[in-house]
């Protein structure tokens, strides 16, 4: 395919140089570090992130105006956080002019679509200052995560320290040190169905995208994509925010990222195509083509 990783200027393996950030970061602390830098430098004046929600491990979109607030949003929550729901409000009652936003590939698509076709999004397009995308294979509703952790892994949600999908398994780490792994096969039926038509793995439309795949534990794979992203990334590098290694020198490297991206896209492309003949002489809608 060759386009599975999207357009990018550079790709590196990186992690934040801040011990504080790394303490609770999912991987290399890229999102938290880059937003913290951009906030300090006035490149953004706030960022929409997945903050802590009302229930354990349920994210809630929030607007972080300080590094402390960014810290509270570290870590992956494997269920939906509708970050784009705040995209207009930040320019209204929050009074932001330069907005940062983090999200999954589909959320990056929403941001870009909103910028080009701002239906009901007056004054939003020019205020997106930094969009950071995170790799995403699939997502889950909150109820799914509850069931996976409480029923399948047999752990109480509030006592979970970290969750991770990697190396073919769903990992649940307890505060008390226990580790439970579930084969991914178990998780499939809990995926949100909308993810099955998603053709983007590494947030192709973000300014900077990042994820764990391709880099060793504690490190992240980073794609620097747009001019804006490149500019901010270079400045953050010069300011000593990140440690990096050329992606070619790390294992498993881009090869694995490409492989997983291709798998996701071809599997989901099939789902998209099967929708055309879903009924008897009737199709289900395909959002990638204009209606006849």
């Amino acid at each position: 395919m060759g386009t599975e990783l999207g357009v990018y200027k550079t790709c590196v393996s990186a992690r934040s140089t801040s011990k504080e950030i790394l303490k609770k970061a999912q991987d290399g602390g890229i999102v938290t570090q880059l937003f913290a830098y951009a906030l300090d430098e006035g490149i953004i004046d706030g960022a929409i992130v997945a903050g802590p929600g009302p229930e354990p491990w349920r994210p809630m979109p929030m607007v972080a105006l300080t590094s402390e607030e960014l810290m509270a949003s570290r870590g992956t929550r494997y269920n939906l956080s509708p970050n784009v729901a705040l995209i207009k409000e930040v320019t209204r009652s929050y009074g932001l002019d330069k907005v940062g936003i983090v999200g999954t590939p589909c959320q990056m698509q929403a941001v870009r679509k909103g910028q080009l076709y701002p239906a009901g999004l007056r004054d939003v397009p020019d205020k997106i200052a930094l969009a950071i995308g995170i790799f995403c294979m699939e997502n889950f509703p909150y109820q799914s995560i509850k069931q996976l952790v409480e029923d399948h892994a047999g752990m109480a949600l509030p006592a979970v320290k970290k969750m991770e999908i990697g190396k073919g398994k769903f990992w649940v780490y307890g505060e008390r040190g226990q580790v439970v792994t579930l084969p991914l096969k178990v998780t499939h039926k809990y995926e949100q169905p909308g993810c099955h038509v998603c053709l983007d793995y590494v947030a192709n439309l973000a300014d900077v995208s990042t994820g764990s795949v391709g880099s060793p534990d504690g490190w992240s794979t980073v794609f620097v994509r747009s001019k804006k992203g490149d500019d901010i990334w270079s400045k953050a590098m010069a300011a000593g925010c990140f440690e990096t290694k050329p992606i070619e020198q790390v294992k498993p490297g881009l090869e694995l990222v490409s492989k997983l991206a291709n798998e996701k896209i071809s599997k989901n492309q099939k789902t998209v195509e099967s929708r055309a003949t879903f009924g008897v002489n009737k199709a289900l809608r395909n959002p990638y083509v204009s209606p006849k």
């Binding site: 004046d45 706030g46 105006l65 409000e89 320019t91 209204r92 009652s93 929050y94 009074g95 932001l96 002019d97 007056r122 004054d123």
Partner: protein, 455 residues
Amino acid sequence: MSKVVEISPTTRHEGHSKLVLKVNDEGIIERGDWLSITPVRGVEKLAIGKTMDQVPKIASRVCGICPIAHTLAGIEAMEGSIRCEIPEDAKLLRVILQAANRLHSIALHNILILPDFYIPGTETKINPFTPEEPVRSVAKRIQRIREIGQTIGEIAGGEAVHPSNPRVGGMYKACSERAVYKMYDLAKEGLTLAHQQMEFMLAVLNNMKKRDWTDVAGKQIPLPKTLGYHDLGYMASHPMYASSNLDEIPGWDPDRWTDVRPWDWYMGEVEVSLADPSYPIGGTSPVGTKANPQMEACTGVPLYDGAPVEVGPRARLATYKNFTEKGTWAQHVARQLEYTDCCYTMINALDAYNPSGKVLADCIPQGDGSMGWAANEAPRGCDVHLAKVKDGRVLWYEMLVPTTWNFPTCSRALTGAPWQVAELIVRGYDPCVSCATHMIVVDEDKRIVAQKLIQ
């Protein structure tokens, strides 16, 4: 022998209206009717049975220039009916929204009227779209003022056009400290520009007042000193914001309001007998055209103390600041004088506003069917909404919008003017004809098919 001339449509104001004018041999208007011919949307009738939260959002869509007025008047009428007092900080956000919208609206109206006026001391009329100075800088200033008004409105109100933040019981969102500073900076910038723009407009108006004639399609049309005078009264409920039945001393009285139908007030059928193909742009209606203002008018005629009244900036200044000038120029002057008020109102409200304050009432009653009303001082004047809410649903809804009040008043004010400047008189009211059109249902033949709906 009087003749009838018709200007249809009128231009450089919001909505769709026309002028049917009986003139004498000199072309001076003996009796004029200015009426809405905007199709009726019937918002008040479709509101019945809907929730009190939904109706003000629908009412907002009556007009995109002053949606703030309809949103706030609608919501406050509901609050008046259910007897809900909103928190102080919610009120302050509404006041900021109100003033921001008025600022933008005055500036927009500058664009609409400037082509009627001359660059002081010259015989050149002002074309706001010219790239040449001095007009270019004025146009840029107007656009910046509008941008400031719209941006502040967007922050305080959620959206500049059809504000999303106001709700029954207060506001959805409090504004952050950063948002407050942003609005403050903008209001300060706006204040300076509003001062400059007001001075400019007053100079233009003073120059016009001194003129004896104006050019319309290459002809010199005399300008009477009493242009736009009428001897009807005026009505205003508050100098800047609004009044409602919850106020200790309400600024409006529903018992003094009556509504009559257009056929009690407008002319019956007439036939156009005078036409001027050179009237810009496209000429007047051809001779032989039939007009019937009684039947064609798409508005009711609200009366206060049994007579039409003028509402708007001049009415506000006359009511609250002893402003005594009359007529078209005075209306324009009064409107410019409100420019800086808008900015001071925002600055004062921002000073008083507490970003961590509550913006939603603890208790929102669902209503027992009592009547409530709110009179919002829209840019164009007093916008009264009346409502009865029971169990959260609207039982009855009525909107008495500024331009509806002004239609019959302005019609009378046409008398004595050369017909070629009738539109100048109309524009003195900054009409918003969409706002004024919401009640009578007519069929394709313009016959009223639902007159019983008019109460």
